[in-house]
Structures are given as C-alpha cells and as structure tokens.
Symmetry: C2
Subunit: 730 residues, 2 copies
Amino acid sequence: MEGRRLLRLLFLLFATVLLLLFTLLNFPYPPSNTAELLDCTTYSPWCTSKNRFQSKKPDLVKNPSYPTRHHHAADVPHHPLDPLTIQEFNKVRSILKSYALLENKPYALHSVVLEEPEKSVVLKWQKGDPLPPRKASVVARAEGVSHVLTVDIDTSEVTGGHEMHLSGYPPMSMEDMTSATVAPLANADFNRTIIERGIDLVDLACLPISSGWFGKTDEKRRLIKVQCYSTKDTANFYMRPIEGLTVLLDLDTKEVVEITDEGRNIPIPKAANTDYRYSSQSTHQKLKLLNPISIEQPKGPSFTIEDEHIVKWANWEFHLKPDPRAGVIISRAMVRDPETKELRNVMYKGLTSELFVPYMDPTDAWYFKTYMDAGEYGFGLQAMPLEPLNDCPRNAYYMDGVFPSADGTPYVRSNMICVYESYAGDIGWRHSECPITGMEIREVRPKVTLVVRMAASVANYDYIMDWVFQTDGVIRIKVGLSGILMVKGTPYMNMDEVNQQENLYGTLLSENVIGVIHDHYITFYLDLDVDGSNNSFVKVNLERQRTKPGESPRRSYLKAERNVAKTEKDAQVKLGLYDPSEFHVINPSKKTRVGNPVGYKVVPGGTAASLLSHDDPPQKRGAFTNNQIWVTPYNETEQWAGGLFVYQNQGEDNLAVWSERDRPIENKDIVLWYTLGFHHIPCQEDFPIMPTVSSSFDLKPVNFFESNPILGIPPNVENDLPNCNAAASV
Amino acid sequence: MEGRRLLRLLFLLFATVLLLLFTLLNFPYPPSNTAELLDCTTYSPWCTSKNRFQSKKPDLVKNPSYPTRHHHAADVPHHPLDPLTIQEFNKVRSILKSYALLENKPYALHSVVLEEPEKSVVLKWQKGDPLPPRKASVVARAEGVSHVLTVDIDTSEVTGGHEMHLSGYPPMSMEDMTSATVAPLANADFNRTIIERGIDLVDLACLPISSGWFGKTDEKRRLIKVQCYSTKDTANFYMRPIEGLTVLLDLDTKEVVEITDEGRNIPIPKAANTDYRYSSQSTHQKLKLLNPISIEQPKGPSFTIEDEHIVKWANWEFHLKPDPRAGVIISRAMVRDPETKELRNVMYKGLTSELFVPYMDPTDAWYFKTYMDAGEYGFGLQAMPLEPLNDCPRNAYYMDGVFPSADGTPYVRSNMICVYESYAGDIGWRHSECPITGMEIREVRPKVTLVVRMAASVANYDYIMDWVFQTDGVIRIKVGLSGILMVKGTPYMNMDEVNQQENLYGTLLSENVIGVIHDHYITFYLDLDVDGSNNSFVKVNLERQRTKPGESPRRSYLKAERNVAKTEKDAQVKLGLYDPSEFHVINPSKKTRVGNPVGYKVVPGGTAASLLSHDDPPQKRGAFTNNQIWVTPYNETEQWAGGLFVYQNQGEDNLAVWSERDRPIENKDIVLWYTLGFHHIPCQEDFPIMPTVSSSFDLKPVNFFESNPILGIPPNVENDLPNCNAAASV
C-alpha cells in the first residue's frame, strides 16, 4: 500500500509539472501585459507557418498588379467591413481592462470581432467617405457568466453586458481547448489507467471533445469530454485510440468530474502503416507517378486586392475577410454587367454559418460526438496556414487572419486564406456545327475561375472550403473533406471474427480499427441581394402534366409552376428527386428587357439529409439541418444557424426556431440558408488518411443578365500562352 | 395563273439544282469506287479540322514519351479490341459488295464496327499473342429491310442477315441526315410557304428531327420530320425558327409525306445579338477579362499511348477507342495496386449507351421532340474535331476516329477525342495539425487527373463527355452541356403581353424567342469487373435506428445494412435523399486483409429523374430512365439501353424490358447502368449560346485497396515547377 501511495504521489507530481510546462508552452500570449505584436510565424508552437511563401518568380514581383504583403502592425481599416486591426484589438483590450463588469476579475474573451455597421450604412458607403464608427463585438466570460458587449473603439464606450438567458456557451477559446487536453494528467486515477494500459505518459495525446447536450436540464457548467491516444511510433495518433476511456472535465475549473474507464480489453491499434508524412514513408511506399504540372500565368494573375480586402477579378468584385468563427466571409459581391458595364449587387454576405457532424454510434464513448465545428471550436480558429504549392498553386495570393487570444492580445494566423485563378482545361461554352448543317464553325471558350480557399483542421478532420467565382456569374461553393477519420478501437482483427448480427457502427479499416459512420452538414448563410435588398423567394416547381384526350400524341410533359413564398414556412424545402424545383431569389421590382424578373438560383449538387429523429437531442440542436433550404427575413442577430451560443445549448434558438415564426419574406430583404451534406461510411481507402471527397452547390444567375454574359470572351490562341522550361534541378 | 405556274416551275427547277448541288457537296465519299483514303481534314466540307493541332513546343517533340501521330492508311490492329482500320473497312466493303443478300441492290450501311471477340477471349489475350479473328458487325439496309451481319475479315465469310422482328430502325447514316435537310426543297408547296414567309431559299437551313413513335402500330416506313430556320444575318440560325412548319419525310424515298404549316402569324425572330462567333463580335461586345493562363508540363505529359489505343497514366491503364454510336469506349480499365504493384481489373467496358432528350411542349410542332442521340443520330458520328487550346489544353493528345460512309468507304474524323492531364489547384489529400495538439504537421498532396474528352454536337446542343481518371482509384464520369438551345418562335415580345394563365412551355429569352423546357438523360453502360468478372451488387442502406429506452442518451443513429441483390429487380434503384444508400459492386470471392469484400461503388452526383408518365410513348421508349441504377447479367447483345434499333421503335426491347426478366445477378458477371439527368428550364443567360452546365457521378474504390492508394505520392516542391516566360507576342 505504501508503494502504491508513493507511486500515486509521484504521478501527481509529474503530471502537475507536465501540465504547467504544457500550458506555458502552449500559451498564445505572454503572461505579462506587453502590447507587442504576436506573430504565429515565430511565436507560438501552434502556428506552424515557418515556410511562409515568398514568390521566387521575378516576373511576379515585377508585376505591379501582383499584391504585395503588408506588415500587420501598421494595418488600418479602409472599408466599413474590414476586420479589426492589430491596433484596434489592442485598444479593445485596454478598454475592457478598465470596464466595470470585468475589472479586477479573471475573465476570458471568447470572441472579439468587428461589429459590422448597419447594412444600410455599408450599402451607402463609398470609397473616399469617412469610415462609420469602428466597433468591436465582444463575448467575455467572467465568473461563470457570458457577456455580449459592444466596444466603441473611438469613444471607448462599452454597451451591452446583460446576461444571456438562453442555454449554451460561447465558442471555446484556444486556451480552453489546449488546457483541456492536459488537465486530466492532474488526476491520479487517469494517469494510473493510462500506465496500466501500457502507455507512457509522454506518448499521450488527448483531444477536447465538445460534450453536446443530451436532455439534462440542470447542467449549469461548461463541460468537455477528453479522449486520448498514443502517439508512440506515429504522428498519426488518431489511429491509436485508447478506447473506452473518457474524462468529463469542467472547462472553467479544469476539474475532472468523471472518468469512464471501459474497454481495457480493447488493444491499442498498432502504429505500423499509419504515418502519412512523406518523410516517414519507406522507399517502397513512395510513389512517383507524375511529371511536374503547374498552372502558369507568366503575365501574372488577373486579379488585384485593393486595400487588403477588396478582390477585383474579371467581372467580379467582393470584400474578403477571415473570421474566427465562419472562417471566410465574402461580402458585397458584385458582378459587372457586360452591357451596361455597371457593377450589380448579387450577395451582401456569404459565410459558413455552422457545421453539424453527428457520429452514428450510441455507445458510451461515442454517443456524444455530435460536433458543431463553427459554434463550438471556431471554424476560422482551426484554419491552419495553407501550404504553398500544394494547398494552393504557385499563382496564389495569401491572406492572413488576425485573431485575439483569450486575454485580447492579437496574434497573426498567416496564410489562412488563399486566392488564385484556376484553369483545369474545362470549357466555358462551345459550339461546333456538325455534318448535318455543313457549316464550318467551331467556337470554344476556356473556363477560368477564381478560387478563394481556406482549410480548417478541426482536430482530425480537414475541411477545404472553396468559394469559386466564374465569369458566367456563377458562384460555386465547394466543400472538400480530407484529413483523418475519428476511429474506434476494437478487439477484432478480421471480419471473420465478427458475428453477422453484431453492429460495428462502422467499417473495420485495419486490425483493431473501426471507422465509425458519421454525417457532415455544412450550413451556409447567404444574404443574397439581387440588384438590391428587397427580394422574393420563388419555388419553380417542375410538375408532371397529363395531356387532355386528343390534345396531343403525348400523354405527359413537365410544366414549370412559379410559386412565390409569402412567409418563411413556404420556403422550408426538403429536396426530392421526384419532386424537383428550381429555387430562385428574384428582385420583383426589376425585370429584364423582355419582362422576366432578375434573379439568382441556388442549384443543389450531390448532398445528404439528416435522418436523425427530430426528438433526438443532437438533432434538436442541429435542427437547422431539418431542411436543405430555408429563407428568413434579414435580421442582423440571425447569422449563426445553430444559435449565437452553441456549446451545450438545447436547441431553443436556432434557424429552425426562427423560421417557425413564419415571418413574411416576400419582397423583403431575405437570407437564404443552404445545407450541404455527406453521409460517410468509412472504407479502407480512408485509412490512414482520406483522399479528398468533395461536393458543391451553385448560386447561378437566372434571367439576371439579358443574355450569356461571357459571349464576348476570346478563345485561347497559341501566341498568348507561355514558353516554359523545365526546372533547373529536380 | 400562268405566272404562278411558271413561278412554281422555276422554284422546282431551282430546288432540284440546289438539292443536287448540296448532295454532291456533302457526299462524304466519291461516287466512284476508288478505294483511296478519305480524310475529313481535306475532303469533306463537314469535317472542319483545318487547324489540326501540331505542337510547337520543342521539348514535347523531343520527349520520346509524347505520343506521335500515325498515318491511318497504314494502321494495323494491335489489340483484340482495336477498332476497324482503314484497310479492314475497305476489305469489309468489298466483301459485302459480292454478298448475295446485297449484291445488285442499292444498299446502305448504317453501322460497321468491330465485332468484339468474346469477353473470355479478350481477357485471356496478352500482348504478343496473335490476335483473335477480326470480324466486323454490320447493319445494312437494302430494299427496306435491315440486316445485322457478321463479316469475317480474314475468311470473307458473312453470317447473319435474318430480318429483325422488332420495331425500330438502325441509326441514321450521315447521308440520311444531310439529304433529309434538303429534300423538302423538291416540294413546291414547301418552297412557296418559305417564300411567302419572306425567306430567301438561299437563307434556309433545315434540321432532320427524329420522329419518335407515338402509338401508331401500322407505320412501316422510316419517317423523319424536318424543321427549318433562316440563316440570314447570323451563323446562329437556331435562334431564327420558321415556327409551325414541319415536313414529314420518308427517309428512304425522300418523299414528302405531309407538310404541317401553321404559325404564319409568328414572326421569325431577329438576327441581332444571336451570333456567337468571336469574329462577329463588335468591339463593344468583346470582353478582355483575363491574363493568359495555361496548364504547363515542361517535362511532357506523364501518360503514354501504346499501339494507338492503350493509355498508360500514373497507376491506370486502359484501352480507348472512338465509336460511331457511343462516342468513346473505355475498355479493360485496370489500376495498379500500390502494395503488390500489380494491375487489377476494375471495368471491362464503359460507354455512353443512350441519351434521351424529351422536350416538354405537347403542341403540334414540338410534341415529337424526344431525341435519342446515340441510337438515332450516332453520338460518335456527331463528335466534331476538338479545337486545340480551347476544347482541350495545350498538353492534350488527340485521337482520330475512322468511320464508314453509307457505302462502306472509311473516312477519318480527326481530333475526335483528346487525352490530357489536368491540375486545377485541387487537393488530393491533406492534414494539418492544429493548435489543440500543437504538433507541427502540414502534409498536402496536389490532385492531378487524366481527362479523356469528346464533344458531340447533335445539331444545336453540345455534349462534353469526360472520363476522368484519378490516382486515388476514382473514375469520374462528367457530362457538360453547352451549345445552343432549341427554341420556339412566338408572337410575344415581352412577358407583360402574356396572360398569367397561359402556358408558354418555356421561358421568353428574347423578343419572339421561347426556350422550351426539356430534360437530358444520359445512360451509361458500365461493365465493372472488380478483380474478376463474377461480382455482386450490394445496396448498403443507411437506415435510421431508434435506440431502446435506457440504451443511450441518444435516441437515434444511422445504421448501414448490407443487402446483396439476388436478381435484377432487387437492383432497380430510384435514388432518394431521405432513403440513402451506397451502391457497391463487390467481388464476393475476394476479401481485403481484414476481411471486407473488395469493391467499387457508384456515387451519384447532382441528377434529375424523368417524371413523364410510364404510359407516355416517349417514356416507353426511354424506359431505361425509369430508374437511375439498374444491374443486369452480362449479355453481349445488351449494350444499348434503348435497344439495338432505336429509331421509331416502340420500346419493346430496352433495358427496362431486359431487367424485368429478373435474372439472377449474384456472384455473376454483371453490368451496372447509371443514368445522369438534367431538367433544363432555359433562362436568358442561355441565349444565344449556353455557358456550360455540368454534372457527374463517380466510380469509387470501396475496400478495393487495403488503404489509401496515394499515401505515397510526393508533394509539389518549387524545384519541380517550370520557369515560364510570357509569350513573345500578343
């Protein structure tokens, strides 16, 4: 007994030291109050952008249209929608320090972003006008209470601050997440079970898993679940789960509330063949399949980025900024009319509003995995620096994010977004005359697009988010899934050991590894303003018509019936292959020359729908996925589909609830919401890292232009194309 | 009266001369019996490939891996599946000339293609083995009877020849189509009505429109409908319909059976703004939006084409050939296993089996427009030469087609197919570690694909057909729609003239022009042979499971239920968003290391389903679109989803009929059929030529590989990428 007590004491001591060390190392800001600029490129171990891209191409550097980088310390806002600058973050931080509600209390900032001016103000603003007052929207937690504050940066006035009455907590701060992963080490029982499973504590990697909400109404504290893995012999610890061990933690106090310790009979899967890093591949594994291939633009890109955030490309212009919660925000998207040469409004604001990722295993260590990556983790906070030449091609421009730490000190997330032009060999439009008419015509135009990309790594999974702008007026919104599966340990080595009746909740991917079935839903907020703010939503239903006897040799045909949605419930849409519609957002006050209302339509692509029961707590919280399309009247407080405070909330304040109010939406400023979905039954090809799977949907002009807006673009000719030599060395 | 008779006579004379002239000019072969090689590049006015691509890039020419072109006259077959060569076509032609059934009769050949050897023979054959006997499959029509013949090229033996007992006729020959467009000019009533509408006969362009079948059972002749347009002041005559005038023609005799002449009150739409040719654009219309952009491979492409038809790229190898009916045929597609380094069978044969394009206007001049472009017009026959640098990028290789004229003389359709590598800046797989774990990892791999492309111009419409091979084992089959709408004349100039209740059957696109609603269905024949011929079809249904009380805090989750299809009816699939499944073709005899059956799945993308009534004659003929997925046992006579003879058939012999036999399909050589669909409600942006709209589906490995097959591919590094200079002149 004495020996065991000593051992326990030693564990405790060791764990405490480790915790301290880890916390210090991972702290994104110095404990002192210095106001110096923190750049992730050099400061924090989590900001891995040492290889920040510097173009070596002299012609790009020479080209004055190629955007040059700025030093963020000197950034000033140029546009009403520009994100907060380093200087503004520091100002906010010092204002809050002396704000009565927070003064002399330990507090943490969970969100500090620009409080955008009213839409009418932004719409009126023109370049050269003075900027409207700069304000920060702040979510602060102090003594267990969340405060939503508005900080006027010029006047130092702070307003708001009343407690929220709804369930739920703000997004975790980075500090919440990193400290949660080491907190269990302070618990001796935890350490003992780890050691007893044969794992060195130095080989431990733990993940903070949002605990969701499952029907308890009396929970009054922020909770998180922690699950751990062995990093021994692989960088891909995700494939080595310590199955059945779950630590329930108080996020504020870091106190261990409960340890569930089952699954000791489940071996930790082997490390062999799990590492995906090129440097870890054996010569036998390395595949040299292809000669070098590159998208080349010897005269430089065709886009410019003005004032850091205004992207101008071909016939498009829009405001682009990083956001800690949404990742990328596109604002004021306008397209130039080829006839009038004027810029026309298409979308006031578009963003990834929420993600919902329920796993399909109801057992103890898995049932709670029902992630909402934007509202719980911060989709933008998880967007790591993009890897030049691989995440984006050589011709890409990179944009940094500036985000606040929990104490308000700003840091730079470099290369968070890239912008590049893409040409895949595709065709914008074409026509050949054929033998039947005998005319000698072959007219073909290449298709070139502008891609805005971000890649968020929410622990294991990687989401590649693309906003693709096309010259024909289409905006394609594309989601790619890659990264690493969340897997479950199992005693099974082979399917022949498994009873046919047993439910594995997934696929045996390798010895002792099950890839658990899950869904991904990504819900987009799309505030379309088609030629102005007042728009209507029209469902154009394609309905089978039977012909009357004697009317026609045909017995049936399809007819398009236009139905203008009066209120929100008219615009709750479940897609159906056998109940097809087009979904138009039109401007009822503006018509084309021949009298069609101008519009844009949302064109769904391959997708999936949530099949969870509506009374299932995760689906109550994820009720914004109950339909694929919703339309709501514009309301500046309704931007986050899962609610402002998503963490542990009970689903009382989300898109589904708002839409049930059934407010009028005809000829109003409206917002369209679209949810893209994936069912994912893992397969062995997803092991140990998944090839990208993508899906997309389009926003497409429909009688918006008088005619094909790219009728006048030229074909490629040999003389335009570059002369390229192979690289000097290989 | 005298004057009018003279006028009529003059018309007749003029029309006859015109007809003669047109026919001679358009004849693809000389009326003499010379056996010389006809190359469309120089011979016929319909083969517009004067700008045949010759690479100017010295490094490509120097690179021995870059495919070089061959002279077709000397072509010899190298592989059992190689298409018939010029010499073989000529041999077949001379054999048939002295074949008893055709001798001394006028006859026309509607199809002459390789009769592929039995599958077992092809599978056994290896490079170096002697070729199996070369045979041609011939469809000949003589004296109103269609004969299906087999010609043994070595022995000159002809077999078959019995009359077909089912309804329907073989695909039209090019000569059928071109002669039908001028035949109405021999009819004085036709000419008079044209002139009376104010159109010069020299401005007339007519289209041959397959007449379909609408319930008559006594029709015993080949009929076609002809509709005409004014070419005055525009190359885009499709936008200038002579509405309501339809000529019913006997295709064999060219006799005018009936003229329907309505719609004289409908003006011919104006030519203004209809021409899409760059040379016809005004300076004001021309748009210079972009700097030059190009896909560059200074070390040349990574693929080779052996023996003219075997494409080897990265981990893929397949046989590629042009086909007059299907367009492109991919055979023997195999992928190299990264572990064993062996080539593994994926697909024995894949092709576009049929298209079904019903228009949704039941009125007189439109009800019959229910095209089946492969079986009626020949999808490959309509594939025009691709335009280098625009239809395919600079790094493309072009493959020619060799097809027979109606008398059997071969001609060359140059640049019919292109093969190129594409890099769009997309990501093959990636993972970054994030702040939560603090590890410094960013591993990203670029995604490069191989595209096989064809573009068929079936009169107005252009179909861009891509087979895209990915290194991760995926084959993406993508259909792009561009070209020109089939439009309808109308008296309306503006929607405000239209009564709300009136059904336009489409959209007013411009003054006097309606774009009529229509659907496109493209049905693919996919003879998957996953690691061998005997496969099973498994529907993996994702079904909602309710948890039992007390089982879990969750109330529901999704469970994957595997259902092996026993017979064909088990594999008739209507897709549903709320009834989701995966669709696997597995090899039940072959399992992965951990015991999953190896397989490929078909992954539907955005699609549409036919809603026409099943009792509607067009839908009876297009019944192969009644489901999106079908699986049939392999049967070499079942390759064309609409039946072998589609023209005017009554739908007694198509995929739906075969599948109703409900034959066993478990652990058999099976064929999967997939239909991709589009509903098209035209919009003004489609006028006067449509920006490309695409959709696709995937064939994707599912537990086919032991793990991610591209784990070992390298990232891009700066030193691999080319140095490019701007073109010398602009």
